[in-house]
């Protein structure tokens, strides 16, 4: 297992370097540069030159990339991911500052997805073609078709503006910082808007996985030997049906991370996603690249988690 994980992480290195090359060139080759906003009529040319030297923009692009990449891996140094063009803070500190909020949002959305989608999927499968199954399937179709940013906007208007039940922005109320109840209250709308599409996808997947298991011989045997239906469903069928579902957790993490950028922007949630969107608007290259790299690391780790979880849950699977 440890050997497998080590080998997978080693294989991830070229992929992450590829992510770095592509995102670096797409961003740094773009017309215009981050110095543009300093180009006012009053700025002296030597000040401009100083800024260009300060940001290393005068060096050839491959050299910029190389120095960027080699410092990038030294995450134990605060300056490894560069300094924000905006406020001069080390990017690593800015990220460390913002990451907990994003992780809280993502983990809550994932938890809500698991808690809601698995029972719905089981119900739909056990009572196939019943009213409940049809209702769940229709709702899943609708939920899947509503883009999460649209849902976020509607939730904000309905729950925040019209009903006034939930806060309109942020993670904490002024004067109640750190109060878990207050944070939970702020979490409701963004988590719902992130989770609905996931719940829709997951419940379909759980239903399909459960149906496949329910049609297998050992389930019929369990019924035939007189076990109560509940026991067959939850003890025999569910445990097998959940094996493929476990891999979904790993595969959902990257999409939650990418979706967080928009959700955080809508709800002004103080996470890395909002920071990334702001950085794009302000051409804060180091922060933009940091978000892309975090996304890439998220995908690599998510896939690895999916495969390892699969092997842990199913002893028939041998990692090789």
């Amino acid at each position: 297992m440890a050997g497998y994980v080590a080998r997978r992480l080693l294989q991830a290195v070229p992929i992450l370097i590829g992510v770095a090359v592509i995102s670096f060139s797409l961003i740094y080759l773009a017309p215009g540069d981050p110095i543009d906003r300093f180009r006012t009529p009053t700025i002296r040319p030597e000040q401009l030159q100083g800024l260009i030297r300060l940001y290393g923009l005068d060096k050839p692009l491959p050299e910029q990339f190389w120095s960027w990449l080699t410092t990038y891996v030294q995450v134990w140094r605060p300056e490894a991911w560069g300094y924000s063009f905006l406020d001069g803070q080390p990017v690593l500190f800015k990220i460390a500052d913002r990451l907990p909020a994003t992780l809280l949002l993502g983990a809550s959305a994932l938890a809500l997805t698991v808690v809601v989608a698995i029972p719905l999927g089981i119900l739909a499968a056990v009572r196939q073609y019943s009213v409940a199954d049809r209702l769940i399937s229709s709702l899943a179709t609708i939920g899947y078709a509503i883009p999460s940013f649209l849902l976020g906007l509607y939730l904000l208007f309905f729950g925040g503006v019209v009903l006034g039940w939930f806060p309109l922005f942020g993670m904490e109320s002024f004067g109640r910082e750190g109060d878990p109840l207050d944070i939970g209250w702020h979490l409701v709308l963004p988590v719902t808007s992130l989770a609905v599409q996931q719940i829709a996808g997951w419940s379909r997947y759980v239903r399909a996985a459960m149906l496949e298991v329910l049609h297998q011989d050992f389930v019929r045997t369990a019924h035939a030997k007189g076990l109560p239906a509940r026991r067959v469903t939850f003890k025999h069928a569910l445990r097998n049906a959940l094996i493929p579902v476990i891999t979904l957790i790993g595969l959902t993490i990257p999409s939650l991370l990418a979706g967080a950028a928009i959700t955080e922007a809508i709800f002004t949630w103080p996470g890395v996603g909002l920071m990334g969107v702001d950085a794009v608007a302000q051409r804060d290259y180091p922060v933009v690249l940091a978000f892309v790299m975090i996304g890439g690391i998220g995908v690599v780790l998510g896939n690895l988690l999916a495969d390892v979880a699969y092997a842990v849950a199913d002893p028939r699977i041998k990692l090789g």
């Binding site: 992450l16 990418a258 975090i294």
Partner: protein
């Protein structure tokens, strides 16, 4: 009465006619069309999409510049259908916006913009996906390895965020930059599907035969392998339209895409946000159109998959 040992003479009856099966031989596409038309949701999806396309062409043609002309006299005016004082058509069943633009005309224009971006992006998605997927699948080996690692890299980019950065840095607001940004980041699914199909097809007898007869790889791929691989490509293209429309709407909603006076479902939503209390329906219409596009495209995609590839259910 027939006696034992003799065969009773029989006349040709209906059962024989059934057994003969006089139904004409149907081609693959005829069978696919029959299967498709039997799927009610898929047909509904096709009809809704067709209606949206027609509306996005007809309404702007009918109302001229109303979609972007801001009329001071019509600010937040209620719905009207009639003739203006100067004899021109006043067709605004959804009323006027906060800056006096005809909402229905704007909605139709935005639908057109969104769908054009969706279709144009899909051209890139299919073009890249088919060429990369078919080369990887046909040649296999190290070519496949290199191309698939490239797919892994593109898949590891945080989708919507990288599009946001591309559009913002390479010329915000330009429709072409949006199309290219969506296209070059979203082709991986199409490439994987085509590769899988080609990996299967290259071991099929008639492909071996074509190769033995000296056909060039390009000819084999184009003439012998691409046609039977069309089913997953068409399905991926349908779903690609829906995804691209959503991405564009999200970009414009966040203020990185299309902006006034151009109309997009996303920027209509952003604008509607600011005058929500005076006219809450302005938030509803663009959202409704967006969901209608996504849902009908996904029904259409499901229907096409079942119709074109009956093995894959």
């Amino acid at each position: 009465m027939a006696q034992l040992g003799t065969v009773a003479p029989r006349t040709f009856d209906e059962a024989d006619a059934d057994a003969l099966d006089l139904t004409p031989v149907r081609t693959y596409w005829q069978l696919a069309r029959r299967r498709f038309l039997r799927n009610r949701l898929a047909v509904v999806g096709l009809v809704v999409l067709a209606m949206l396309i027609v509306a996005s062409l007809v309404i702007p043609a009918m109302t001229g510049d109303a979609w972007r002309t801001a009329l001071l006299a019509k600010v937040n005016a209620p719905p009207e259908v009639g003739v203006n004082a100067d004899g021109s058509l006043a067709f605004a069943p959804l009323g006027y916006s906060d800056i006096g633009q005809n909402v229905l005309a704007r909605l139709a224009k935005a639908t057109g913009t969104s769908l054009s971006i969706g279709f144009a992006a899909v051209v890139i998605i299919v073009g890249l996906g088919v060429s990369i997927g078919s080369v990887a699948g046909y040649f296999g080996g190290w070519v496949d390895n290199v191309l698939m690692r490239f797919v892994d890299i593109v898949l590891s980019l945080p989708g919507l965020f990288i599009i946001l950065a591309l559009v913002s840095f390479w010329g915000g607001g330009s429709i072409w930059v949006i199309i290219v940004a969506i296209g070059i980041t979203s082709w991986t699914l199409a490439a994987r599907l085509v590769r899988a199909e080609f990996l299967r097809l290259r071991e099929v007898d008639y492909v071996h035969a074509a190769r033995a007869l000296g056909a060039s790889p390009f000819r084999i791929m184009l003439r012998h392998m691409l046609p039977p691989a069309m089913a997953p490509i068409i399905v991926a293209a349908t779903l690609g339209v829906a995804d691209s429309v959503v991405i564009e709407a999200a970009l414009s909603f966040l203020g990185f895409g299309i902006s006034q006076p151009e109309a997009s479902l996303g920027n209509m939503l952003t604008e509607a946000r600011t005058y929500f209390f005076r006219n809450p329906m302005l938030v509803v219409w663009p959202g409704l159109v967006l969901v209608a596009i996504v849902m009908s495209a996904s029904f259409l995609g499901d229907g096409l998959r079942d119709a074109l590839d009956p093995r894959q259910r």
